[in-house]
Amino acid sequence: MPILQGVVEQEKYLSEYSMIEIARELDLPASEVYGTATFYSFLEYKKMGRYIIRICKTITCSMKGKNQVLLAIEDMLKIGVGETTPDGNFSLLQTNCLGFCHKAPAMLINNEVYNELTPEKVREILSMYMNRKKEGGPYDN
């Protein structure tokens, strides 16, 4: 698994090619690598954007206004859940409990946590990421 995680960290997702390569190197059936990879929700096997937004949809976050936040993100990036922006910068996903129920609603952008979100706050955060891209600064957290 650390190998798979490493690949995901570098390339943001596991391509068929990399899974077959890993299997060859480890002398395992490719199906086994694929089985492990597809089991875990953080190991993506589809091409993902540079920033993966994971918004928590579990009960407390839902109660505390996750939907408004989600709408704000969708509106700003013009993508729905499970989609990636055409420029390949953002992917939007929903996920299960992130463990920030006392500061709901919460989301992860790559490995960075943002909590106590409101539609306004999320717009600010996203424009920060967008600017970061323009300035050509460091991409990853």
Binding site: T36, Y40, S41, T58, T60, M63, N96, N111
Partner: protein
């Protein structure tokens, strides 16, 4: 009735103590048997939710004969409404590491792992720093023990101990059959002690102050204090350390917003307690004397009267459906059918009696599912449907 118990705050876990070096060197000079007896007499039970006696767990692993053994700290905290382990690992990591090393001394293990959930990746750099400082000290006192972090990747089921081993071995996180239990056949098939983060932090308290200090807290069958993760409709969400055995009434008085309709005790896999039962419910491990006593991994979610219980249940079931590993049929198909079922009833496609059928399905799941996930779906489902039946239908 269990109303005699008051809400009592405790302050052990987060008390900032910089004497871990003394605690470690003092305790590893004691014979293992003495430490095990100390743990057993404290009656500490696992704080992850299942409540297995920790002393017994260590004892069984210590008795297992093998060259290689492991100590694993389960930090795959994924239960909705739980966030205590993260706070422990970020505020008092040395307590957990020290407890792991002492456990290593007791059972004869030289390697420890922390299985950290993928969502807590941001904890890792800091934790790694703490670990290298800790290992440095271990080398200084000639104590052979190493600790590694293993990252999870976003699977709730990997908090189940045998699924966690599978995951660490690089496989799909699917629970194994039990027995054999981890104490004889754990990670890599070796005897393994696997404890929750909070359990380990409590053992630190016990080894430092002695079992008596811990035993004096709480009530019969539920000794000691426990961290509670309070969230939902409450004016003061957060983490609180409370003595076990308190009545839910006192809890709601303290944390409710005055309009509390129900409390979910123990996260999505726990029980929902409606207002009319607050009085007769205590928080602790199952004891025959205390009437209704609910165990909990520490998650307390409060719902006020503006919340629809249908939405709550819908949310839980969706959670379970996604997080079911899909290995055994009762859980894989059961979760889907329960979710489809309550939606059909809500839309009027099925009549209200259909709910009784679904209740029987959860009963079947309780008996036939392989691991705790499938078995515990029945808890929240039946406690919500039975208490808020009309909300399910209309």
């Amino acid at each position: 009735m269990t109303t005699n118990y008051q809400l009592k705050r405790a302050d052990f876990i987060f008390k900032n103590e910089n004497d871990w070096k003394e605690v470690l060197s003092k305790n590893i000079s004691h014979p293992p048997q003495k430490l095990i007896n100390e743990l057993i007499s404290s009656e500490l039970k696992g704080r992850g939710g299942a409540g297995f006696p920790t002393g017994l767990k260590w004892k069984l692993s210590a008795e297992a004969v093998d060259e290689i053994k492991y100590v694993i700290c389960n930090a795959d905290e994924g239960e909705p409404g739980t966030f205590k382990d993260r706070e422990i690992l970020s505020k008092v990591p040395f307590k957990v590491l020290t407890a792991m090393a002492i456990c290593g001394h007791v059972i004869g293990a030289r390697e420890g792992y922390i299985y950290l959930r993928g969502e807590y990746f941001f904890l890792r750099p800091e934790l790694n720093k703490v670990i290298s400082e800790f290992e440095y000290y271990c080398r200084e006192i000639n104590f052979d023990f190493t600790i590694r972090i293993f990252m999870g990747s976003g699977a709730y089921i990997c908090g189940e101990e045998t699924a966690l081993f599978e995951s660490m071995e690089g496989k799909r996180g699917e629970p194994r059959n039990k027995p054999p239990f981890p104490s004889s056949y754990g990670y890599m098939g070796k005897p393994t002690v696997i404890n929750n983060v909070e359990t380990l932090a409590h053992t630190y308290t016990i080894f430092k102050y002695g079992a008596k200090r811990f035993y004096d807290l709480g009530v019969q069958y539920s000794r000691g204090s426990k961290l509670f993760s309070v969230s939902g409709d409450t004016p003061k969400p957060g983490i609180y350390e409370l003595e076990l055995g308190m009545s839910l009434v006192d809890f709601v008085d303290e944390f409710g917003d005055g309009d509390t309709k129900a409390v979910q005790v123990g996260g999505a896999s726990g029980f929902l307690v409606p207002r009319k039962r607050f009085n007769e419910t205590a928080i602790g491990f199952q004891g025959k004397l205390t009437g209704i006593s609910l165990p909990t991994g520490g998650s307390m979610m409060l719902f006020n009267s503006s919340r629809s219980m249908f939405n709550v249940l819908d949310n839980y079931l969706e959670f379970f459906r996604e997080e079911s590993c899909g290995q055994c049929t009762p859980c894989r198909v059961g979760c889907q059918q329960l979710l489809n079922g309550i939606k059909a009833v809500k839309r009027g496609e099925k009549n209200a009696q259909y709910l009784d059928k679904l209740l029987r399905l959860t009963e079947t799941m309780q008996y036939t599912a392989k691991c705790g996930l499938g078995q515990s779906v029945a808890n929240s489902f039946s406690s919500i449907v039975e208490n808020f039946r009309e909300e399910m239908i209309y």
